[in-house]
Amino acid sequence: MSEKNDDLKKVVNQALAEQKVPHVKLDKMKPSTVDIDKLTKPSKETHQEYWGKGLTFLAIILIILLVVSIIGFVGEHGLATFFSDHVNIIHFLTSTNWDPTQGENHVGALAMIVTSFLVTLISALIAAPFAIAVALFMTEYSSKRSAKFLQSVTELLVGIPSVVYGFLGLTIIVPTIRNVFGGTGFGILAATLVLFVMVLPTITSLTVDALKAVPTELRNSSAALGATRWQTIYHVILRASTSRILTAIIFGMARAFGEALAVQMVIGNAVLMPYNLVSPSATLTSQLTSQMGNTVMGTLPNNALWSLALLLLLMSLLFNFLVHLIGKKGKK
């Protein structure tokens, strides 16, 4: 008898060791006794809270430091042009005479400012309608599966490095323009076409997000009033998402304004006021990338480039400000 009992014990122990049998003794659930002491003392959780708060706070401090020092550095060098090299700021903004090696009377950035704005505005103006149409197709008309496919295509386009776009522009667009319009083929038109392809996916994916944010109930209730799909899109959906679509376009413009490499490869890099769309020209960014290796730190030509960088920084601040402004208006 006792041998059998031992046997059974062995079997059970073996099974427990191999975890074949759950060795948890089940009790009826009931409230545990309250430990009054614990209620007034810090525990592991409260320490975790401190740590979590502290870590995120540190990260924030780091970012703020970074931003402040970037603005400070760019500002210091950018403003040196005006304060220590005595370039007139009005002259800088209104003259097209750009040859900083010749002294302070030859630091006029107007040609680059105008070119930068032209390529940005034209590419955004062409890209926006296309992007909105593509986004509308993806959210309102296509099936879920093809929308997913299109979405991954646009994401792929966003991810292609800008040098690839520039290279494509250089080998395809520039020769084509040369053949059609004559001249060198470099210029605003080539830059605009390259930027159009680059900002299209940006504006498209942000517009898709904007359209997806429109509640389905609005589509349904418009349909229930006998409106067609197109009437619903035109009068309700676009209306409801106007501010977010504008934001998408501004993000696209910010990308176009800040794009350096691809533009530098196709714009011709001659600091001249563009007199037509196919004359070689230069943007703020393209001038920065093409000239930064040719100047000595601390000299006027170098400081003049920093002034261009400062201008770009201010523009991106302006774009950000616009986005916030539109977002606020959209909420009203």
């Binding site: 509640p215 109930e217 609005l218 349904n220 209730s221 418009s222 349909a223 229930a224 009033l225 006998g226 409106a227 067609t228 009437q231 009068h235 309700v236 209306r239 409801a240 009203k332």
Partner: protein, 266 residues
């Protein structure tokens, strides 16, 4: 299911000149296989409010949405929907015109992000109505009919989103009746509203019932008994009982209906 077969059912019928809308053997399938509605045949009397009651998932909202073809791309709807002698559940029906005759108001108040005026004129304008005087007239008429005119007449060009939930829902009714439909489908129109707004909405519906045929889905049985003349009880995709509201509530024929009305489930 076997329980349902043994359950006594009662479906009231109307003579054809009393009918505004009727269905014959209406079945709804989702994804081709999941059946949510089984051969429902109901007739709705002209200028009366009919309440559709039943537990969640009983198919009453599915049924309602089928009536003006809002289920077109969502589900397969089989059977006939007879409107003015015409089967409107056929592919050759112009759904846009149909929905102008059979309007719908949804559960959540959902005005368009436009002004109050534009909420009402939007579909009229899209339809080609350009006469400003005529549009103004329709705006006032429909807002008055929805008992909202006095509250909003001074702010017609303000955003409709600034209105309270109850006012928004009455605006949704106003913009539906601006198209002069014969029938209004109401999908739990008061479920997102507080009691005071609900009372106002119910008053509005009562005022409208002499001119419109209304079919209303509701979870609120007091509401059904307060404002509807007829009540249909849905259970698991079948209609078990359809009669004068007072009969359904005081003298239900079936056991399941009785249990639901007493609040034993649902």
């Amino acid at each position: 299911m076997d329980d349902l077969k043994k359950e006594p059912t009662y479906i009231k019928t109307f003579s054809s000149d009393e009918l505004a809308l009727s269905t014959k053997n209406l079945s709804v399938l989702y994804g081709g296989t999941i059946q949510k509605l089984f051969n429902v045949s109901l007739g709705f009397k002209k200028n009366a409010i009919t309440a559709l009651i039943g537990a969640s998932g009983s198919g009453k909202s599915t049924f309602l949405r089928s009536l003006n073809r809002m289920n077109d791309k969502v589900a397969t709807v089989k059977g006939n929907i007879i409107f003015h002698g015409l089967d409107v559940n056929k592919p050759n029906i112009n759904v846009y015109e149909l929905r102008k005759n059979i309007g719908m108001v949804f559960q959540k108040p959902n005005p368009f992000p436009k002004s109050i005026r534009e909420n009402i004129t939007y579909t009229l304008k899209a339809d080609g109505q350009k006469d400003k005087q005529k549009l103004d007239q329709i705006v006032e008429e429909s807002l008055r009919a929805a008992a909202l005119w006095d509250e909003v007449k001074d702010k017609l060009d303000k955003s409709a989103l600034a209105l309270s939930g109850g006012q928004q829902q009455r605006l949704c009714i106003a913009r539906a009746i601006a198209l002069k439909p014969e029938i209004l489908l109401l999908d739990e129109p008061a479920s997102a509203l507080d009691p005071v707004s609900t009372a106002k909405l119910e008053d509005t519906l009562k005022q409208l019932r002499s001119r419109y045929t209304m079919v209303m889905v509701t979870h609120n049985m007091q509401q059904a008994s307060r404002i509807s003349e007829y009540t249909a009880f849905f259970h698991l995709g079948h209609v078990l009982e359809y009669d004068v509201t007072s009969n359904v509530f005081t003298n239900p024929k079936g056991r399941i209906t009785e249990k639901y009305i007493q609040g034993s489930f649902g």
